[in-house]
């Protein structure tokens, strides 16, 4: 009797192991399918950059072709749009450097000092971070026009600080909050001043956080469209702001547009992979420590 029971339970165990393995395979399959779904439209559009005009416009989609770099050469070098990439780089790096340098100490202060009205300030910072660009774009345009900043690199750099600075302060505070206050206390009993404590004891501990915040901010700045469009001249416009104007009702040179979009997307893709471990935290405003 007891023997019998053992046999059935073993059989059941084996059956459940089988179904579990099947489930694992199904989930592998589904995950693979998801990756294909998310990558396919992307890859397809980028493939157009490597096609000739006839291949792109063909009513029967061309799946096998000899890739050409003509679109890239034409749009980047003959038309000189490589400058747009440089503009994006100048704007993003300047805005992010400025905001990290002045925002990180502020985030530390918010994490450690009893600042009056701290939570209200934080709420306000988040509100402006989440407001659409169009809210500040208009007054910034008028003010920058008045102080003759319009059309210079300064205009988009300062405008990008409107979302970069709140982001840096918000996210860096969550990184500083992770560092126990006892470390500050220990450093200060060792005779460090507050500033020395910050530089020599705390900053090294949040180094990876600063890198993550900076890379994230560069992505956001690189992706920004509206400020880059209205506050700049043709000479200072970042690449993301220029792409839509290349799409015309008739006679769009799709191959070149796609080649430019591919080139503009590459740095972002590289940064995403560089960010890996911090992606979740950055996207959720520090709420999820992934």
């Amino acid at each position: 009797m007891a023997n019998n029971l053992n046999i059935t339970s073993a059989a059941r165990k084996q059956a459940s192991a089988h179904s579990r393995r099947l489930l694992t395979w199904i989930s592998y399959l589904l995950t693979g399918l998801l990756v294909v779904i998310f990558l396919f439209p992307w890859l397809w559009v980028f493939s157009l950059g490597f096609k000739t005009r006839a291949e792109i416009m063909s009513p029967n989609i061309v799946w096998i072709w000899t890739p050409t770099l003509n679109n890239f050469i034409e749009v980047l070098f003959v038309k000189g749009y490589w400058r747009l990439i440089i503009n994006s780089l100048i704007v993003a790096v300047s805005a992010v450097t400025l905001c990290v340098v002045i925002g990180v100490p502020t985030a530390y202060a918010f994490s450690r000092f009893p600042i009056p009205g701290k939570e209200s300030w934080f709420y306000m910072i988040l509100t402006f971070r989440m407001a659409p660009a169009v809210v500040l774009a208009l007054p910034l345009y008028v003010i920058f026009a008045r102080i003759k900043l319009l059309g210079t690199y300064g205009a988009p750099i300062l405008a990008h600080c409107t979302f970069t600075l709140p982001f840096v302060i918000w996210l860096m505070r969550s990184f500083f909050d992770d560092v126990p206050k006892e470390i500050d206390a220990a450093a200060m009993t060792d005779g460090y001043s507050r500033a020395e404590t910050f530089f020599y004891a705390i900053l090294p501990l949040v180094k990876s956080g600063i890198v993550a915040v900076a890379l994230f901010s560069i992505i956001f700045s690189w992706n920004e469209f509206l400020y880059g469009l209205i506050l700049t001249s043709d000479a200072t416009r970042p690449v993301a702001s220029q792409i839509p104007s290349l799409i015309r009702p008739h006679g769009t040179l799709w191959g070149e547009v796609c080649a430019l979009a591919t080139t503009a997307s590459l740095p972002v893709a590289i940064l995403i992979f560089a960010l890996q471990r911090q992606l979740v935290r950055g996207l959720s405003f520090g709420a999820v420590k992934g």
Binding site: P41, A131, P132, V134, F225, P244, A269, L283, G290
Partner: protein
């Protein structure tokens, strides 16, 4: 006393920048909203007209339309993203833990330049040579251009938005799933709960706070949607896809109706700040937990 003054040095540079590029411009826009001001009338400061701009706004059909469009896009898009995101998260966090290395790949649409996402939408949906547009035409689901038809243009925006943001929801929920405590599951097993019971009685309540943050961020984002619409339809055909940010843009930078445009901006801002209050509370609760 000394330490009080000391604090200022840490926040002063940020405070100056915040004042210069955020607060002063915002207050400038606020004063504009009480003035009749446009760049076509060259008087730089315009005339004070009280709440006339806001009165005009109350009777503006296109303004209501822009809110209607925003909600028509937001509600189905966020429900879709919530459900698909949950499915994806269960998949990633469940049997395929190693799939965490796939997270950066899945997040490509979320972090890629929105303008390029819009371009992907325009091209794949092109009825003549786009992979998806052609397919839709062949299956007889859509006649002609998806984006040229006011019935389907908003659906296309919803689809592209879902493509872009589902991974975001999925990744936040995945992090939530991986951070769930073990004890409630052991208790559920002891009590002999079925898988489905465990999911609805244990997993969902524990996951709920992650859901709240993801959905709130998406709702606020929905009020910001601009780039993708601008690339795909410019708010058209007609006003079929003219969400609030697109409408405000039209009045400010197309018509240069700065007074009225500022009033629109203020109303949008009030909406955002109410939503952010909820988000702020959700984030706070979380970070102290």
């Amino acid at each position: 006393m000394r330490s009080r003054r000391y604090i200022w040095w840490w926040v002063l540079p940020s405070a100056i920048l915040f004042l210069g590029i955020i607060l002063i411009p915002f207050i400038t826009a606020l004063t504009y909203s009480f003035r009749s001001l446009s760049f076509t009338t060259s008087t730089a400061t315009g005339q004070y007209i009280g709440v006339e701009n806001y009165r005009r706004l109350v009777f503006d059909q296109d303004f209501y339309n822009s809110f209607k469009v925003t909600f028509l896009y937001m509600v189905p898009a966020i429900i879709l993203q919530g459900l698909l995101g949950l499915g994806m998260a269960l998949l990633i966090a469940g049997a395929v833990r190693r799939a965490r290395i796939l997270i950066p790949i899945m997040l490509l649409p979320t972090l890629l330049t929105p303008v390029v996402i819009g371009l992907i939408g325009v091209l794949t949906l092109n009825p003549d040579f786009g992979v998806i547009g052609q397919l839709l035409n062949r299956l007889g689901l859509v006649q002609g251009a998806v984006l040229g038809n006011s019935d389907t243009a908003l659906l296309a925006i919803i689809a592209v938005d879902t493509y872009q943001w589902t991974p975001f929801v999925a990744v936040i929920l995945t992090a939530g799933l991986l951070a769930l405590p073990k004890e409630p599951y052991e208790a559920a097993q002891v009590d002999g709960a079925s898988r489905i019971q465990t999911f609805f009685r244990v997993t969902m309540p524990l996951l709920w706070q992650y859901f709240v943050v993801a959905i709130l961020i998406r709702v606020i984002d929905a009020f910001r949607i601009f780039d993708i619409i601008w690339v795909m339809t410019r708010g058209g055909p007609g006003t079929a896809t003219e969400a609030v940010a697109v409408y405000a843009y039209r009045h400010t930078f197309r018509y240069w109706d700065l007074g009225y445009g500022s009033a629109l901006i203020m109303v949008i801002f009030v909406f955002i700040s109410i939503l952010v209050e909820y988000l702020y509370k959700a984030l706070q609760k979380w970070q102290t937990a």
